[in-house]
Amino acid sequence: MKTLPAALVAASCVLALCACNKQPQVDPRIKQVMEQRHEGFEAIGEAFKTLNDAVKSGAGLTEDVKKAAHTIHGYAPQLADWFPPGSGPETGIDTKARAEIWQQPEEFAEKREALAAEAARLAELADGGDAAAFAAQVKKLGGRCKACHDRFRVDRD
């Protein structure tokens, strides 16, 4: 008789494992937003590298630099649409977004808006002629990225 409970436990473990291995059932709209989010952040990263490279080499406000600044400015307000409820780690889809984003929505919104404001200022400075002020703004914007990532992004790479 002792084997029956053991067999039940084993069977339920197997079932539980099967359940975990199943493809997560996620609303296709949510899935789409998550993909869009991922691509958007990659595009921001790519543009930001262009800016950091230019600052490092002292290239000044080239066309590439202006374009990259406007790319970031274009994406920054979109963050407001990239984190709908239900698009976090609970989807089972690989994401670095932490559940805290939805648990502390005010703090997240505050950081998100700060980013959008700094990005707008960046685009403004890119069109101006002050390379030093632009370089300082790149640094400031980087700080905004980092502050939010430290708080709301899973630390693995």
Binding site: E46, A47, N52, D53, C145
Partner: protein
Amino acid sequence: MQAELARRRVWDLPTRLLHWLLVALFAFSWWSAENHAMDWHRWSGYGVLGLLLFRLYWGLVGSTTARFASFVRGPRAFFAYARRLLQRPGPITPGHNPMGGWSVLALLALLLVQVGTGLFATDTDGLESGPLASKISYSLSRDFAEVHEISFNLLLALVGLHVAVVLFYWVYKRENLIAAMLSGDKRLPAAPELARLRFEGWRRALPGVLIAAAIVWAIVRS
């Protein structure tokens, strides 16, 4: 027979210094990356690169036991040694044994991959990069970062194996390789191989140090 054992020089000072500096910088690089201290991580990487470049130089013109030509052995020697690995006491090898030589080569090669990819790597935010990442695109730079991570995991495995084998020699074979790497001496019986060892001094090491430093400097400021 015991009376013949005496402390005899095996490792020169540059090789020992290099070994322990690599250990320290490897640990520090790991720590600084985990803690996002990327300025420190870059400096640590430059240090590792300098050490590796010097090691390549020393492997060509350094003391006998440090030279690739003396410790990189063919498969025959490798398997002959491997078959007697559990023998106590084992065959006497004044420098790297025929298996250990390959471990040294693999560690050096992987460390070169590690610093080499680090030079070109960038993080996902385009925020922190190696000194040469600005020469290449974001996506290529991210590929370098990926290899940087894979090679680090391989390095951890290889370092683990290295330490495990050193402990095996200590516990099972009663041969303390750590003390030898610290003092440079091993207690060995007189053997003709020992008499043939040549040890080079700082005069030979200095050009290698300068070459390594110049290359690292050129990369850092590029």
